[in-house]
Symmetry: D2
């Protein structure tokens, strides 16, 4: 997953993009970049690391212009190094300078790349984003920019929330399934200055007003000097399939996406999860920070006190010196330490949003037992993750997904739990307003698109 | 404040000290250092920054020996640069190598320093720690090490939790008032290996067993090769005066110090605070992370749901680029963003552990009003901070302490609150087992020692 | 200017490329990069800074494969940031991976870029190198790789010494004028392992044998598994015009390029320069290090002792804190300090290879006068630089070129010299074996190609 | 060896000290520090690394005051880390703040340290400098500062050039043998502003006027507000024994120390060396940079051309990636590459200032042979180093000193030289004005002091 941000018609475009990316940092920590357009040409800076490491005051000053887009990227295999950092900024026919930032994954990338290469296209990286550019470029000979983009979208299958900066236009688009979020906002007291972001928390930081989602299958164009945005629709007839995992895990709880307040949605998951498998306990304890919001709902539903009894060490670096073998599970323990008195002799309901590999759960439950927990009831605020995602969520391989190889009962026994309950898929869907408009393929295996063909 | 850690008779002394300091990092982020003793001589490394920045694998390998003490220091004016980093390691009469790590503040440091200087002593820094060393050194001509330390303590007034490494002895001592915490533990399955730490959370990380507090006015000596520790008492007749602010704010919630579980103690402060000023509200919201534990107690006492509705951005660096003037209070907002739906149209009880300068409270309350909170009731889980601390807590000056210049009612009006209540001093004391054994001078102005004479 | 290096069929290809670039570091200090080919795919790493800062041991280990090319780049306006770092590595038709490193400047780049853009090509940077790739790619549908490259070269005017890595072939080519150097060598005891470098000093470091220059208008192909190289010629009829400034200034004195030993050639410049304007002096002093070799020749011709009387401070960083105004010309003085006793009361012949802006000369001559030099005779081992270079040498603009605005006599007076002599163009050409085969446009204004048309 | 610098009564004291240390950087690259005095108290900053890495603009601004001393230190065993960085700044009796910077080595340090420890002194490092401070401090009860220092000097045997900053006095002293240099200068147009430096090159950079050496056994006191300096003499009757190795190797060639211009002195060594062992050769080649100045003299005496035929790569970092075993002597070759045409078929006289371990000579001579040198005659501009230095020059141990184990003839054979000649001790002494006033113990074994007693 990635985070994208864009702004039009603002004197401090690069600086506000920097802040927007700051708020979206949780969506990607490996690389980041900003492109601005100053009325004549694009200015680009990319780099590896966090937003506040990559950009210094002087960098933002060099990124001149009133239009900007930015990107934060999650690292994954095959994307090593800054060459893959986004946004891309290129020159094409007619000297047009076009910059693009993309969140998502194109299903038919290998086929498209091959077709384009056969037509003479050259690829400098493995990113799907170059495919977008070539498809647009090839169409610009006969079509306007807007037409070219819409026509390109016909060729592309998969997930894409995209921001494009070209010749003073800021263009936002979202694939017809609407897999990943993208929102429209406006800067306060600046009618001409629109902002776009993956999540609304970026608007809060800028004190921008949230207007609405870019719709699935919508292209929004902000043209220089006009107050109005122009909307184009494409991909009619495609069912909306927004990523439910954004609500379960990925988005920040203070964001609103897909029309849902993430915080409240996660609380509802907690409520529902408890209703599905009631259990008398002394307290409800989340795995911080991912389990906090479902645990709040669970505690309220269960009538048991919420206890924030796993304490995070906020000074843990990305890497740390490992202890020798005799110290077990140090990596888990150095980050989180339990408050013994909240665990000893007590019946616990422990909550997290998902179980992926199961290793952290195993370590922590063992610790609870060692401290003297009377009962440990584990509750997961989503169904078991059983299937890979083709749309951009970077789950581990099937071999590593613990739910693929263990039934809930097997897992309960292996983890030494008194009970284990996953929120049912029906329960999960009951927490959102439009259950039919979500992709839950990672839980159900029902993919809304054809599956990708291996390269 | 500072954090100190020590270990005896363990093959991985430097590595375990590194981990111990990792767990105590919240007590000081400016400098850190470790001294080891290899049976012949001391090895020292100090540096500026966080533990995981200062020490690399090769550094720990160079810190050979089975005895170690370490230190993390909070920066304060007059302690600039690594020259002030602790521990100190010195050579003195008879070639004795002595290392010392110190948490606290000596009241009569200026007088002692002057006396020592007049006797020919030389000071290389402003740290109180050098005073300790000179007092000990001057006594070693006629006294044993233990006697020299005890005799030195007679001269020193103020707060000191100290670890000393000398000639294969690891010595821990705590001033007779017992201002700051210091605990004894033992490594699992290693009867000879004792550990000492400012807080018990360091023992948890090492899976060490917590034995007990070093007592106020106690010196504990661990000698090489013996399983038993030897205890000496001094300062008889001095009343115990442990720092209540450690429980209110400074210690980690997963620690046990002064015989109190910090987490539970803070919850009791929340309960009591609510009982003192009941208020019907829709929910209870903490300032994260400092207000979380009192808020949990408050919510349970108030019968209102606890909501974790202020979301921290975990990617905020120590410094960040500032926005231009038009973006108000950016520093507060970039770190914490409120979940609007939890605030709009609701009656809030907002909780923090203290109000020092008042600026953050002002900004956040204004934001709550802007979002549309119906009522905002602020609750503080400690009394107003009115007096400076002479024992090591680095409060701002009186001019900056908002409670010095504003009565609670004035402050309520200025902050735009519907109500404001500070936990009373009696209420605070009701949350601990031995109310008489605490120093609450920052709240009451009643200092357990003579006041320091300005240099 | 840039430096390029390539190697075929060697197990330590990336490591040897690293060393080769180390030896070529004087040709470019801003960016560097290496691409390797492992039989299946390319591996790339680029970065900003010196070779020994960009590559660490682990990086070289990750650059697997027996084929490699590398690049060091001199920074110039419009090439900001690592996005412009070379080599480029791309994927094109048929999945072909092609990497390219380029030294030089294409005259007709704007026209070619426009033509290519109009055909749908996309450019990610301002570098000329992308033009090469697109021209090749467009021809690969109908032509073999070798044919495609040769055909592409027909379109390109200007200076290019290029290394290409594609499908296990290592290809070197040099434009028909042969502006910049490129040499062929072979690793000792490894008949299959050819090396290519901008200068022979890179071969010395690797103990590789220098075979010969890649010829102007030659393409050399090293195919995997064969011992022989295959040579193709192109651009017949084009006159050879090698850059004389490489011999005057750019190349390292221990290199052999264009069949000339740079050290000896520079000494001959010194001899000739003295013969053209004899002057009795007490000693000959070079500006270090650029003037050393001409000064050696000058001293031998003049029969006066060579004195190394300007001492470099080798610890000067790239940037340093500036003194306040009262300290004049600090930047010049901090790097070089004169030995007073060699200057006072003496008649000096001072030698440098060129005068570009004139500021350093002015400062140093004033210092000599202040110290008490009796006479100062300045000798320049090349003619006045009067014209911009279109082939890759980054001279300052005409406004800054001191010789454009001052006759030698004017400059002599302004600099306070007793005499000033520039080596004549005839004298310069007398120092090389084939005077007709050089470009001296920066001195003469006679350009061997059409002039570039502004974009 | 170390470099020291001090300045009195100048508004930009810290900045000028920074520049002074910049010019003395060759005397020590491991640590550096500056202390200033602002009329009330001292300000200190020390750090590991080069001067331009340790001090930033803001650091110099924080080092307020018109008096400053600074230090650059050469790293040696037992001085690891910044705790040993100088200057030291301490507080002592009467609140006196005293800072000290020291170049040299105290012979009787172990005895003095033991005596001081027995009197209660505490040592925080292994540096000799702490001994100075304690000796002074102990005397301050009864004596004035000047008397105390002079009395302390009676106890100290060995080498010390020292700068002291105390209560607005800047004090310079040099041991009675005068082992290491220290000079007095004055800032231009600032009669009150005196400067002190280890070498005169620091004055050149500041455009300060060189007045004279601090004399062996002289203490010079600059008092605030007075234009005159006060001189005290001590150690009468001690023979002057200045370190001849300063002239041979350590000092910068553009410095004047001990009344000798280093450049000219080294040229005379070259002349004399050639006169002692004449040899017809085609050219004279120095090992750069250490052999350059003797080679200039040698070439003039021999009537053969000087050739700068070993080329330094100026981009070599302090550490670099090592090649695999197959590349011999890479460390030597990466730094220096020979110009083949100057070596092949030629009779060479190769010059360096000393042979210490012999490894570099061996590698380079082998290379000359491989290139095809007809004859290689090695000339060393000092006698064989046979004895350790007790006064601060950090020679390798006897086992590593190649001359200890090899007669010149043996070494000639082993290195494959046609001839080898070391400058004789008489010849060396003939190059200085006062031959009797030098210590040449490293060559002769005649030590001017008692030998140090091992600790």
């Amino acid at each position: 997953m990635c985070g994208i941000f864009g702004i039009s018609g603002h004197k401090e475009a690069s600086r506000l993009t920097y802040f927007g990316l700051y708020a979206l940092q949780h969506r990607g920590q490996e690389c980041t970049g900003i492109v601005t357009y100053d009325g004549k040409e694009n200015h680009l800076q990319v780099g590896g690391g966090l937003v506040h490491d990559v950009f210094q005051e002087k960098d933002l000053s060099a990124l001149v212009g009133e239009y900007a887009i930015g990107h934060v990227r999650y690292g994954s295999a095959g994307n090593r190094g800054v060459r893959s950092a986004l946004p891309l900024s290129v020159r094409m026919a007619g000297g047009l300078q076009l910059a693009i930032a993309h969140d998502g994954k194109i299903i038919n990338a290998p086929q498209l790349r091959k077709e384009l290469e056969d037509e003479g296209a050259i690829f400098q990286s493995n990113s799907d984003t170059e495919i977008f550019i070539h498809l647009i470029s090839h169409r610009l000979r006969n079509l306007s920019l807007e037409e070219a983009i819409l026509d390109a979208c016909k060729k592309i299958e998969g997930a894409y929330s995209v921001l494009i900066l070209a010749n003073g236009k800021l263009i936002a688009l979202r694939d017809p399934h609407g897999f990943h979020p993208l929102l429209i906002g406006r800067m306060p007291d600046e009618k001409h200055s629109y902002v776009f972001a993956s999540e609304s928390c970026a608007f809060d930081l800028l004190e921008a007003e949230l207007i609405r989602d870019v719709l699935p299958g919508e292209m929004v164009v902000v043209e220089k000097g006009t107050e109005e945005i122009v909307s184009y629709r494409f991909g009619e007839g495609t069912p909306v399939r927004q990523c439910i995992f954004e609500l379960v895990y990925f988005a920040r709880p203070d964001s609103t996406i897909f029309g849902e307040n993430v915080y409240q949605c996660r609380k509802r998951m907690g409520h529902t999860m408890v209703r599905e498998a009631r259990q008398e306990v002394d307290c409800v304890i989340p795995f911080p920070d991912s389990g906090i919001y479902a645990a709040l709902g669970a505690a309220q539903e269960a009538g048991a006190p919420y206890e924030h009894a796993l304490i995070r060490n906020h000074y843990v670096g990305r890497t740390f010196i490992q202890p020798t073998q005799s110290m077990r599970e140090f990596g888990v323990r150095v980050k989180i330490n339990p408050v013994h008195s909240m665990i000893q002799d007590r019946k616990l309901m422990v909550v997290d949003d998902s179980i992926v590999r199961g290793t952290t759960v195993r370590t922590r439950v063992a610790k609870f037992r060692e401290i003297g927990a009377k009962e440990v009831h584990f509750r997961v605020s989503s169904p078991p993750v059983l299937h890979p995602c083709c749309y951009g969520v970077d789950f581990p391989s099937s071999e590593e997904l613990v739910a693929v190889h263990h039934s809930p009962e097997e897992l309960r026994q292996e983890l030494g739990l008194d009970s284990l309950h996953y929120l049912s898929i029906e329960g999960l869907m009951s927490t959102v307003s439009c259950p039919n408009s979500y992709c839950a393929a990672c839980f159900t295996g029902v993919y809304p698109t054809a599956l990708p063909i291996a390269e």
